[in-house]
Subunit: 241 residues, 2 copies
Amino acid sequence: MHAPSEQGYIQQVSIDCVIFGYQDQQLKVLIPKLLFRGDFWALPSGFVYQDEDIDDAARRILQDRTGIKEVWLEQFQVTGTANRNSRAFVDQLLELNPDLFSRWQTRRQEHEWFTRRFISIGYYALVDINQVVPQKHEIDACIEWHTIRDIPPMIMDHNQLVSKALETLRLTLDQKLSAFSLLPEAFTMKDVQALYETIYQTTFARNNFQKRILHLNALERLEKKFTGAANKAPYLYRRQQ
Amino acid sequence: MHAPSEQGYIQQVSIDCVIFGYQDQQLKVLIPKLLFRGDFWALPSGFVYQDEDIDDAARRILQDRTGIKEVWLEQFQVTGTANRNSRAFVDQLLELNPDLFSRWQTRRQEHEWFTRRFISIGYYALVDINQVVPQKHEIDACIEWHTIRDIPPMIMDHNQLVSKALETLRLTLDQKLSAFSLLPEAFTMKDVQALYETIYQTTFARNNFQKRILHLNALERLEKKFTGAANKAPYLYRRQQ
């Protein structure tokens, strides 16, 4: 929820972002929580300026929240049911935080703008979690990584958006070679397998998995990883440039 | 292009439909052509009513053009670059057809509405071509099936939308079991193979292909097809109910 203003935005269109990171063999999502009374968690969201490409709007929202510019970014769904609005959420927020009434100087107008039906364009992003410095907004109490099994209840349909983003990610992981964006620049085959197993919540046989990945022709083999035990050291890989 | 009116629609959001059919081992797309001077072909398009789900809007546009209600329908892309508008097209249309000026009674207003930037939600549909009775609108000269290798130049970015729809269709054909929607209710394995070969523009080895399809666990085997030569008659299949 950015500065509520009608100025310059396309009306009734919003962008919701599911930002995936990977750490300690866990897939995580970056989610801010509002500062106000009430447990209001919500996906990083925003609107589209009249003179802005929708992809650029998504990149702006992502950079604003992660501090990084180059991320894997992909649309996964447009949500546009007729009854999709944030009226229930905004009303509850105002009820629990009556002081907001006075802070929103043109409250009625903003309330009207915010609580109209919005068509939401869902983007998911894949980031190297070590590069990210999560940014909270003035109206956020915090912004945190949550493992996908431990995501708090969010406003509106935001939990469903995470599920749908994950489903889409799984569907085209091999075709789009997207998973490597979750890893640091250099990684071992074992790292890739652990990542895939985390994303699909299953295990793969090592030999078959290695064949599957090499068959993608997406990786470049680097030197062996330094482990001290030269013979058994695994190779490092990186995405082909 | 339906009746140009601002009444009741969400502004700056449009729906563009790529309707795929399959016939004579050709993948085809249903495209209307405007009645006016100038060769204006354009994908079936429309807008979203304030009280209408976007999926329902797409279904309404499709039913209106095909006469059928139940079709495979899927979003494939939101196109939303800042410079995406139909100003060039509408201006050209009006220049070639000056009589339209007088027909459009509130012309300036409608021109302004139509030629604003639109965010387009792209849907593709898969239909059994034999069920379709193509419907032209009052402002159409015709509506025709075009094979994908023989699609006329269309207005704006509509040719690119067809390419992107086809790319998306290819990407998830097995996972989504969508291809069977292009066939009549009962079909042979040979029919499926011909369809896949058409969609991917390649050939598959018969045995491997049959394994691949049966492995999907999506089909139900029916009686043998009556050909007169009982022994060599192929089995008929249909999608599992």
